[in-house]
Symmetry: C2
Subunit: 400 residues, 2 copies
């Protein structure tokens, strides 16, 4: 088989862990497979580099930031190659550039445009284990780009697609995907199989297992992948296309505490205004999550939406400019929020799930500020202080 | 003017120093010059990376080592660009690869084959300060190579040659070139001007100012350069072509404690044997320094030579194989040695300098184990414990 394995930063945080990962990779090769390994930066390397950058520039330019951050993965590539060669297998390390990963020019959040995997395949055919720097690529202007946090997962899945791998394994510090975050809900259980869509909704609902762009990519190209623990023996969670099945309506619940709510008051209620705001945000690659528009009063309306806290400053700047232009009244940014979600492809077959969710929250005296629904997810924005309580209540209601 | 400035690791060891260097670079630009900056890795980065490598592999493979070490300079490039942009000047950072630095395939000790500087010139013409990763290039096989310790000096001088710079400034943590190491000989004085040849002999004599390959390159292409202190105001030392002049015979004295002496006993004394040994070492890019061959006895001879301590293991391995092949008797490696040298282009006009040197050492009761002379240098290999005493005695004899 042709297998892509991805190891995250915590799996590579020390040279001892690096050696353990090398053993695991070599074991896979010696079991008769061809292996491509995608690696993240060691432990807290990326955070440390960001700290250095902020010491020399209060708002580090993004192109230079990408050059800086891309070095973290290269260190992992070089060290893992050495560790593999030390056990006696040949390894070939590659930067994102040499692995043929072409991206657009959105520095710090680039999107993969194309992978030209000929060099990867060539090295595999020579009998080498190929080790590739995750999280990075090259722009049309020949600048180093990075894919944003969690981008190494995306690298692994995109490479699996490009080389038509038989299997893609995402190794991490958790045993797989759980019905809820086990740190918050001790009763949470491992989910052996989950659909791309549920996984996607979980990612956008704040479950920290994987970045949604990676899962989207896997879904689009139908690349089944496993989420497994590096330092564990369990089978993990298989993420793949799953036909709608009978049974439980809700497969997992999750909590996202990293959102902020931005409200624009007294927006003139005429066609094209909402589009103007959200197109501008889209152009800057800002993911808007829950959007609520109030019923119009006297030709004015209030628009609220949530974005990730890391995009808050950028979003406010854009929104303020537009608000001025369109004559909106006021903008507030509320950081004291959390989002709880229930997720499950079974939901489509079970009417009344939303009602049960609102009821479960009401019983805990939790006020719902915003609601957003999709076919397989319902999210409620609540006060941050109610987050954990809400998550536990929903796990009890739907899973246990 | 078109100016190339090189800043070493200690000049960039902290973000505060980085900001200081950025100010200096911007000052140069704002004085009306075009500026290319070549940077080393921050402080002890390279040593730390080597430590990590040795933790995963007792003898890290050199190709992977190069990939690993090359990241150190990239961090400096990205951070210095940010610091420059923070003061309001545009900067463009480049890896060795993108700067067009093509090398051979001798990993960890690659030689620059060619510089294709079109991208550097393009960015200068756009009004950018160009910041380039020193110490690295790309091999014909498209692997990242490094130029060996001190390779950033070579990068700076080679780039100055390729872009026809008007001035090349090597910024470091010393005020310039001294008549002897001021840490050992407090009476040592700054030399305002020195010839390439003297500088070269000083480098090979163990003066720690600059790597000889960088000076050789400067001499070959006649690139005058200045050695100056980053955190100082002095004019430093100008290194350039200097016509032979009257005056002092000896311009500097130096001490090298990083050599080992290898002796091969009972080598069959027939033509081609010495060549066999030293060709093999040359092929592995090992610089042999002093070579002494004893007078032949009964068709056998003893050959002694010195190499840098970092090449000792590799050298012994090669020499042992050849010794076996040619039937030599025994090999010993003596690490308890030091080399003192006197250097000066004036020496050619002053007969008797060698005699004065041997006499000065004899007066201090220092035994000479090996002697090597060139037109402008005389070196003596002595016991390591006599090194400092010898250096002081020679400085007193020839300089003070």
């Amino acid at each position: 088989m042709l297998i892509v394995q991805k190891y995250g930063g915590s799996s590579l945080a020390t040279t001892d862990r690096m050696k353990f990962v090398a053993e695991k990779v070599v074991e896979t090769k010696r079991a008769g497979h061809q292996v491509v390994v995608v690696v993240s930066a060691m432990g807290k390397t990326t955070d440390n580099l960001i700290t250095l950058a902020k010491e020399v520039h209060p708002a580090p330019p993004e192109r230079e930031m990408d050059m800086l951050l891309s070095t973290g993965e290269l260190v992992s590539v070089a060290l893992l190659c050495m560790a593999i060669e030390n056990i006696g297998e040949p390894a070939e390390g590659m930067t994102g550039y040499f692995a043929g990963i072409q991206t657009d020019s959105f520095h710090t959040k680039a999107r993969i445009q194309k992978i030209e995997p000929s060099r990867i395949i060539e090295e595999l055919n020579k009998g080498n284990i190929v080790v590739i720097a995750g999280f990075q690529g090259i722009s049309p202007e020949n600048s180093i780009t990075t894919l944003g946090r969690g981008g190494s997962d995306l690298t692994a899945i995109a490479i699996a697609a490009a080389i038509k791998a038989d299997m893609c394994e995402i190794y991490t510090d958790v045993e797989g995907v759980f019905t809820a975050d086990p740190h918050i809900v001790p009763e949470a259980r491992l989910i052996p199989e989950i659909s791309y869509d549920e996984m996607l909704e979980m990612a956008s609902a704040g479950a920290k297992v994987m970045q949604s762009r990676a899962v989207e990519f896997a879904k689009r190209y139908n690349i089944p992948f496993a989420v497994k623990a590096t330092f564990g023996k369990g089978g993990g969670t298989m993420v793949k296309e799953i036909a709608l099945k009978e049974g439980a309506a809700v497969s997992s619940v999750s909590l996202d505490e990293k959102q902020v709510k931005i409200t624009i008051f007294r927006v003139p209620d005429r066609p094209g205004i909402a589009s103007q705001i959200f197109t501008a945000l889209g152009k800057e690659n800002i993911n808007v999550d829950v959007i609520v528009q109030n019923v119009s009063k006297e030709s004015f309306t209030d628009i609220s939406f949530t974005v990730n806290i890391s995009d808050a400053d950028k979003t406010l700047k854009i929104v303020k400019a537009i608000a001025k232009e369109i004559g909106a009244q006021d903008i507030i940014c509320d950081t004291d929020i959390a989002k709880v979600s229930i997720i499950g492809i079974g939901m489509m077959n079970h009417p009344g799930v939303a009602g049960r969710m609102f009821d479960a929250l009401a019983r805990e005296n939790i006020n719902i500020e915003m609601i957003s629904t999709s076919e397989i997810k319902i999210s409620c924005v609540i006060k941050k202080s109610d987050g954990v309580k809400a998550l536990k209540a929903l796990h009890k209601e739907f899973i246990q």
